[in-house]
Amino acid sequence: MTSEKILLIDRNKCIRCFGCVAVCPVQALEYSKEGPKWIENRCTRCKICSNFCPVKAIRWA
């Protein structure tokens, strides 16, 4: 059984620029007051968001 990677956001690093929401091709990241929110069942793990993030707050585990 393969397990897919989980997207983790380091809220201390995140500057809430929401650029990740802008670049996600499948709307798997959404705005919320606390910062971007991951919608797991839409995610294709393309990694565009983690590449984009200016502060590397997004990582995969």
């Binding site: 500057i15 929401f18 650029g19 929401v21 670049v23 705005y31 007051k33 590449n51 200016p54 502060v55």
Partner: protein, 387 residues
């Protein structure tokens, strides 16, 4: 409980420069307009280098109050990778966006627009297959507001675009990842000059900027291609560490954002929804400035919206596309072509280019005149694909 009109002519989502300016014009035309901004305070957080050209002031007949201005600017130094620089003359300002955005919102309010901060729009209302309004949490309470026309002025990650079905997702190659510190207690070469640093090691497909906000204070930031894995912060921290005059500075603000650098939309209108500003990627692809583009587009949008309301026909909104392309879009597309050329240059080629160009040539290039650049590149013996 806040008492507001539950039915208006126009709902504008986002109260940055695009939203405010559109609202001001519409209110001046007698339109019943409401503006909703998700932040507790209009103008914050700042996702901007805060540069602003005097040509915008002139184009829009703006009278910028001094409290919006952090620093008056009369030119720029542009540095090639080898440190050689070209001086460009040009007038403008580095703004205090928090004050500027608030000022615009106040102007729009005084003209008759209703603005609500801490009001997050999370969905569109659909009735009989048509978009009839928005659902929002308005200063803590869930409410529905009906509107004839909806304006998405809600930034590069536009929720309104997504909900309306206008695809505005930025390809990672058509967006720059931006990160910036506002630094205090630093030494500046000349507080009246912007400084721009180019180089593939300094800022891949972008630049480092120093935008002074006073004698010893500046926005120091970087924009890099959105697909770069290292991240903007890596490049900025490296740059600052290498400069003694910046290293000891205090960080008084940390800012960042996604900067569209092209990828203009052929159709910025869907039914009765219209996009303006960063939501419509209306940003200069070479220097990343968007405040002026947002406000210019808002002028056009407001006129078209008024016409559509008068004729009670949302199909009129499509004229916004034609008018915007004629006014700005065609020029910005030329500038995008320029970006595509310049971003492929190696550091060595950038160095040679800096030797061959003069200040006014660079000014022309950022305004879409690429004849001189192409001539110079060909003269220098560069091979240019697509020309």
């Amino acid at each position: 409980m806040i008492k507001i009109d539950k039915e208006v002519d126009v709902i504008i989502v986002g109260c940055g420069p695009a939203g405010s300016w559109c609202a001001k014009r519409l209110a001046e035309y007698g339109v019943n307009v409401i503006v909703l901004d998700r932040n507790e305070e209009i103008g914050t957080p700042v996702r901007c280098g805060e540069g602003f050209s005097k040509t915008i002031e002139e184009r829009l007949n703006l009278k910028l109050p001094s409290f919006c201005i952090a620093q008056k600017i009369d030119g720029a130094f542009i540095y090639a990778p080898n440190g050689k620089f070209v001086e460009v003359k040009g007038f403008g300002y580095v703004l205090e966006r928090k004050m500027f955005d608030k000022w615009l919102a106040i102007e729009a309010s005084n003209a008759g627009a209703k603005i609500l901060a801490k009001s997050y729009v999370y969905d569109l209302i659909k009735e009989k297959g048509k978009i009839a309004g928005i659902k929002a949490n308005i200063v803590g309470e869930d409410m529905e507001i009906k509107g004839k026309i909806i304006v998405g002025a809600d930034g590069v990650e536009s929720m309104i675009a997504k909900k309306a079905g206008i695809n505005t997702t930025c390809s990672p190659f058509l967006v720059d990842s931006g990160f910036e510190y506002e630094l205090a207690n630093i030494k500046l070469r000349d507080e009246k000059k912007l400084e721009i640093f180019l180089g593939n090691e300094v800022a891949p497909r972008g630049y480092v900027w120093i935008f002074p906000k006073g004698k010893n204070r500046a926005n120091v930031g970087v924009g890099i291609v959105g697909s770069n894995e290292k991240g903007a912060r890596y490049y900025l921290d490296k740059f600052i560490a290498s400069r003694e005059e910046l290293r000891k500075g205090s960080i008084i603000e940390v800012k960042g954002g996604a900067i569209p650098v092209g990828g203009f939309l052929r159709d910025m209108v869907k039914e009765n929804v219209l996009l303006v500003g960063d939501a419509a990627h209306q940003v200069n692809p070479i220097h990343g400035g968007g405040i002026g583009e947002a406000m210019t587009a808002s002028e056009i949008a407001a006129k078209v919206i008024k016409k559509a309301l008068d004729k009670n026909d949302s199909k009129v909104l499509k004229e916004y596309n034609t008018l915007w392309y004629k006014s700005r879009g065609n020029t910005l597309k030329k500038i995008e072509k320029l970006r595509e050329i310049v971003e492929k240059l190696s550091d060595d080629q950038l160095n040679k280019l800096a030797e061959a160009l003069e200040g006014e040539d660079i000014y022309d290039i950022t305004h879409g005149n690429y004849l001189k650049l192409v001539k110079t590149l060909l003269k220098l013996g560069f091979k240019l694909a697509g020309f």
